[in-house]
């Protein structure tokens, strides 16, 4: 994009945002760590904003218009993001479908599947959940057991999924199922299941933070159309791996740039005669976290630059994900420590809403190093694929 073209586009974007972004949402992205649609559903202005963005095609700026996108370039997308950030606006379409399934379908789905599923993702009208994990499988995804049997005119699915984010609010589920029990990875298929099909039941799981973001999903004699397999029968492992890469990108990406905790600390703890946070022990840990957080964000920016330039070796995402979860978990701990007794509240009177939210966020943050490939799995990946260290056997 030439400079003057960019200037023009930027002005256009700014004007449109001014006219269309609901003021009530400024700096109040309601999708922080819940991301299950439940919160967003309740907010009329959010729904309005989502519709306007969808109509504009900006829910998926770079996707083709027939897929519900705007057919623009990454450069246009960057300008839109910058202009949004300037006024506290945000993309309301940061769903699992958009961040994980959409990019995967673009690579692996056939034309018919793309036309069928991408627009709902781009417009934010169809909500997806991820049916990968199973009880007992945990990090060892490839040992999944959910059976998918060819019944001639349809698939018959039986099994159980767990840690299915937002399953109780989702319309569809992208699942890994076993179409061949004689092989491990090579017996897995990537299947799209309508959550309203008979035999699908989602039971929410309460987490330590009190949220019911996840669910167990029971699949009992669920009939699924033959054309709902993506990437071919028994070819699902490759599709899943690609999708997990997109997940890792988005998880890591979510956590760059965090505002300084110094003002909060000074408000709750006070300053010493020298203008420093009054608790010297906590102060040092805040400093260390700030430094690591900044370097983490620099690492992210560097990776983006390098990816764009297609040069040099970028930091491995597996390592970056671990750094990210480490820095944000530490931040969660620091915030409740700053809040002190105010960081011990669960609900009800006597606590500010922000305080209660911080306590829940702290508890929730423990999941960062478990979901999307645990800390240990990421380290295994770094050791093996990045550092080329030999396997034990």
């Amino acid at each position: 994009m030439a400079d003057d073209v960019e200037q023009g586009f930027r002005a256009e974007v700014a004007e449109w945002l001014k006219a269309n972004f609901p003021a009530s949402l400024a700096y109040k992205n309601p999708q922080p760590y819940h991301n299950d649609g439940a919160l967003a559903d309740a907010d009329a202005d959010f729904q309005l904003w989502l519709r306007r963005i969808a109509d504009k095609g900006w829910g998926a700026v770079t996707w083709a218009p027939e897929y519900g996108g705007a057919g623009l370039t990454r450069a246009h997308e960057a300008v839109i993001n910058q202009e949004m950030a300037r006024i506290g606006a945000f993309n309301p379409n940061r769903s699992y479908g958009m961040m994980m399934l959409g990019p995967t379908l673009l690579e692996y789905a056939d034309d018919e599947q793309k036309l069928r599923f991408l627009p709902g993702i781009a417009k934010g009208t169809v909500r997806w959940c991820q049916g990968f994990s199973e009880p007992g499988a945990g990090s060892d995804l490839a040992s999944l057991q959910t059976k998918c049997i060819d019944q001639g005119d349809h698939w018959l699915v039986n099994g159980q999924k767990i840690w299915t984010s937002g399953a109780n609010h989702a319309h569809w589920c992208f699942c890994l199922v076993r179409t061949d029990t004689s092989r491990k990875q090579a017996g897995i298929s990537f299947l799209l299941i309508d959550m309203s099909s008979p035999g699908v039941e989602a039971r929410p799981i309460t987490l330590i933070s009190g949220t019911t973001h996840f669910a167990e999903v029971f699949l009992t004699d669920v009939q699924v159309p033959k054309e709902n397999i993506v990437g071919g029968v028994n070819q699902g492992w490759a599709v899943a791996k690609r999708l997990l890469q997109f997940e890792r990108d988005s998880l890591a990406g979510n956590r760059a740039e965090a505002p300084s905790l110094a003002p909060l600390a000074k408000r709750y703890i006070g300053e010493d005669a020298d203008g420093r946070i009054a608790d010297p022990d906590l102060r040092r840990r805040l400093i260390l976290n700030s430094m690591r957080s900044r370097a983490y964000s620099q690492t992210f920016q560097r990776a983006a630059r390098e990816a764009k330039a297609g040069t040099g070796t970028s930091p491995a995402l597996s390592a970056v994900k671990n750094l990210g979860s480490d820095v944000s978990q530490e931040r969660g701990e620091l915030i409740v420590e700053i809040l002190g007794n105010r960081g011990l509240g669960w609900e009800g009177g006597g606590f500010e809403p922000d305080e209660l939210e911080a306590t829940r966020a702290w508890l929730h943050s423990k999941a960062y190093s478990i979901y999307g490939g645990s800390f240990e799995i990421q380290n295994n990946i770094t050791a093996k694929r990045v550092l080329n260290l030999p396997d034990y056997q």
Binding site: D140, T206, P280, L282, G345, F351, I370
Partner: protein, 372 residues
Amino acid sequence: MAVLNEEQRMLRDGAEAWALDRAPVTALRRLRELDGQTGFDPDLYAEMAEMGWTGILVPEEFGGSDFGHLSLGLIVERLGRTLLPSPLIDSAVAAVGALRLAGNAAQQERFLPALASGELVAVLALDEDRRHPQRQVALAAERDGDGWRLSGVKRPVPFGMAAGLFIVPARTTDGVALFLVDGDAAGLDRRALREVLPRGAAILSFDNVAVGPDALLSPPGEGQGVLDRVLDRACICQAAEMLGAAVQAFETTLDYLKTRKQFGRIIGQFQALQHRAANLYAELELTRSAVEAALAALDEDGDDIPVLASLAKALAGDTLRRMATEMIQLHGGIGMTDEHDAGFYLKRARVADMSFGNAAFHRERYARLCGY
């Protein structure tokens, strides 16, 4: 483990058996679901009292056994394993300690027997909002005839909804004094707080609460000194309880490492996890040493109690937090669910750390005491 006498071994084994039988983590779950404001189970507390635990630090003349702090520490360590909420430390250590250190004969006679029998629960009304006050008490006491009037707010006060008696540090023109205030004193308003774990926390608002001269436990200027000594005792026993929780978190996790399979292996076979477990074990041993040394110093009336108290409390705070965090991490997804106990250990780690001064506070206190 400390070298124990026969009496102590019996107490420890009794507490262990009782806790397993009567106070598993489900007791905490039940309390949470009841959503009551008491924060503990009075029936269980009565059983504890019956076994003599509430009187372990009370002199025999007032109905206690005077077995000492190590004995009590053994018990709270066992209770800590299953996270039983009870005012044992608040009432039978802190309140009893304050009455023994500063109470006159009349005060001791009036309150110690009731505390020993468990009929009365007394707690410190110490914190004033965000953190441990550290010599900056704001609640004010003014002379009124031969009595006093108290005004200000204390929060959170653990078991503050249920306690019958409060020991209240207050600022006077002549320094800090300690007062004994009845739970139903006129002008005292209590409001329940809902915290991450039940412990009956309350906001106490003192609106010109009038108390008589017999309510003065420690006169102006002497209150801080008594309070420091009381807090040392409470800290050390709190650290013992936290050690128990950390030990249980470790053992539960170790069991999981020995049974859970991933990638066709028992996950405890993975060396990276083995080394983490070994390092956690070492931290536990350090913490145990600090806790037991501090308990012993209390019973021997050693002169480095403040240093040992801060050391034990700070180490216990860090160790329990680290252990609970690893408990969740090593359990993976299941550890994040409310159905599993891991989250309770994490929440307890935070609440217990904030009680009687957190690890950061005690590191700084240790540093001052040791000239850093």
